[in-house]
């Protein structure tokens, strides 16, 4: 593999070829980048992925449809609710049933809380990669409260397995709504403090403004999605444009990058879009909790799930972009094929396109601003 990659790099002997990873504090997981540099300036950076491949899609062919749900958690363990929801939606389309309204609302609540947790990690690790260690821990402090809330809801802090085919697994526990609303009150004010601490810090801005600019056409060509695409200036959000679940009932803004402190599409835009999205998520959770319909939280699903032969495709707006599942059924209890399309995998392609001309420190900023996590890339 390495020889294949190295042959693609043309050097005239002056450049250094550096292995950025796979063990590296700031590649957000086990990813390797073969970087060809001339001093501090990069000529080419090629990602080399596959270190975290766990054959999750193959496992989907051997465990049944309900049994695959915990494995979807592991597709992106930082924001696991989205993976759960995407798979549940895909299988529900195969079975031609829809989750009851209360389940859809609960799905939205859990997903948006998970989005907050995931963005806290994304933003926190970005600041840590750039040298400021404190904001990461402040973010993790808030994430601890989100984790506690979700732990009270479904029993686990990271691999939730909360959604089920046909609904969700549990209803809200006692007092959870008030706890969440109290947390959101605190969290909205925390975001302001976070901005004051680091977002507009002069050193931080100078590190990120006008760095690793991804123009909108390039972002669309490379199939970026989610905050990366919105940071490039493209106004596209699956929750609003291809709505699913309970999202048509909520009113929220979609933050789009517009060159907040630099050019449109630079690393700061992608970072700040995530900060703004956290505020929007908190709004959605509030609206969802206030308008939560009564009813059952799990539809009547047959004990053994044996959908008719066919295929289904479902996409959700995950924290990292578009997380889509393509499930093919052959009529038996086990799926014929489960394919997960993740936002981080497509974001790897852009590294090669944007990195020439960056400095090594900017490569770190680029990778951090793309918010890639290795489990999503390799599955």
């Amino acid at each position: 593999m390495e020889r294949l990659v190295l042959r693609r790099m043309q050097g005239d002997g002056e450049e250094m070829i550096l292995n950025f990873g796979p063990q590296h504090p700031s590649t957000h997981g086990v990813i390797n980048f073969m970087v060809e540099t001339d001093g501090e300036v990069i000529r080419r950076a090629v990602p080399d992925v596959g270190y975290l491949h766990r054959s999750i899609e193959k496992i989907g062919e051997t465990v049944g449809y309900p049994g695959f749900m915990p494995f979807t958690d592991r597709v992106d363990y930082v924001a696991a609710m989205f993976a759960n929801e995407g798979y549940a939606l895909a299988v529900e389309r195969l079975l031609k049933l829809e989750a009851p309204p209360r389940a859809q609302w609960l799905r939205a609540v859990s997903c948006e809380l998970c989005r907050i947790a995931s963005h806290l990690i994304a933003v926190g690790t970005m600041t840590m990669d750039l040298g400021a260690f404190t904001p990461m821990l402040h973010g993790v402090r808030e994430r601890e409260v989100v984790n506690d809330l979700i732990e009270a809801l479904c029993g686990a802090r990271l691999t939730y397995n909360y959604h089920r085919i046909g609904g969700v697994a549990f209803d809200l526990p006692e007092g959870w709504r008030d706890r969440t609303l109290r947390f959101l009150d605190h969290f909205d004010r925390f975001l302001t403090e976070f901005d004051r601490l680091i977002s507009f810090n002069e050193v931080y801005v100078k590190r990120l403004a006008k760095v690793a600019v991804i123009p909108a056409p390039l972002a669309k060509d490379y199939g970026l999605s989610g905050p990366n695409l919105r940071g490039a200036g493209v106004d596209w959000d699956l929750r609003r444009d291809l709505p699913y679940g309970a999202y048509p009932h909520f009113r929220f803004q979609v933050p789009v990058g517009k060159g907040f402190v630099g050019t449109r599409g630079d690393a700061f835009d992608r970072y700040y879009v995530r900060c703004l999205e956290m505020a929007e998520s908190s709004k959605i959770v509030r609206q969802a909790l206030e308008s939560l319909p009564e009813g059952e939280y799990l539809a009547k699903v047959p004990r053994r799930i044996k959908p008719e032969p066919g295929e289904a495709f479902a996409r959700v707006e995950s924290a990292r972009g578009e997380l889509a599942y393509y499930v093919v059924s052959d009529g038996t209890e086990k799926a014929w094929r489960v394919r997960a399309r993740t936002g981080s995998f497509t974001a790897m392609g852009i590294v090669d396109a944007v990195s020439p001309g960056l400095m090594v420190a900017d490569l770190v900023a680029l990778i951090a601003s793309l918010d890639v996590v290795a489990p999503e890339i390799d599955r």
């Binding site: 809801l153 697994a169 526990p173 004051r196 002069e202 801005v205």
Partner: protein
């Protein structure tokens, strides 16, 4: 090139943003850290501070297990193994002779808890069960064997023991560094005599243990 205004602006922005940032950091100095000082400086043992739905180690109340094997079928990684036999004395009665849950393999997803008709298998709040030997994490709930529970016709509830009351004594009674279970001795070697040691070329590999 920078104009004088941009230059002064840079300096001013730096001072202003540093002012705010440093005040936030200083304010965190006087707040309470969020750390929970496990294991000894918590107000209660941590397992008692966890929410009721916490998916910890599995516990089976054998008194109300009906032997339906729904949990075994639901587990996606096959960490539950059950064997049911007919009681030799009473052919109408089924016995559960093996009910092993490999907690080392378990991914604590909770899919086995949902289909259980009586609520016999549950996740507890236990998580402190680390052992030195991996094999000791296989919990054998069916030694000795027990008859399956027959649900009474007019049952309105299932008399399950309080959650964790079976597992806690079990965890407390075993040692963390207990040796692993002894398995059957290996098969004896076939009748052909082994090579005489003198004929073997000198090699540094040690002989495999019998």
């Amino acid at each position: 090139m920078l104009t004088l205004r941009e230059y002064a602006g840079n300096v001013g922005t730096t001072v202003r943003t540093f002012w705010h940032g440093m005040s936030v950091t200083l304010s965190y100095l006087i707040r309470r850290p969020i750390t929970v000082q496990y294991p000894d400086r918590t107000p209660l043992p941590v397992r008692q501070m966890l929410p009721p739905r916490y998916r910890g180690f599995l516990e089976v109340d054998v008194a109300i297990c009906t032997g339906c094997q729904a949990c075994e079928r639901a587990c996606p990684i096959d960490c539950i193994k059950m064997v049911l036999e007919k009681d030799p004395q009473n052919p109408k009665q089924r016995l559960v002779t093996q009910f092993d849950i490999d907690e080392a393999k378990c991914m604590f997803c909770g899919l086995c808890v949902e289909p259980c008709p009586t609520g016999s298998i549950q996740h507890t709040q236990e998580f402190e069960a680390a052992t030195r030997n991996l094999r000791n994490l296989t919990f054998r709930w069916a030694s000795p064997s027990w008859p399956v529970y027959k649900v009474p016709k007019d049952a309105s509830y299932y008399p399950r023991a309080p959650l964790g009351s079976i597992l806690r004594p079990l965890l407390e009674s075993r040692r963390w560094d207990a040796p692993g279970p002894q398995f059957l001795p290996p098969e004896p070697r076939p009748a052909a005599a082994p090579e005489p040691p003198a004929a073997r070329p000198a090699s540094s590999k040690p002989e495999p243990a019998p």
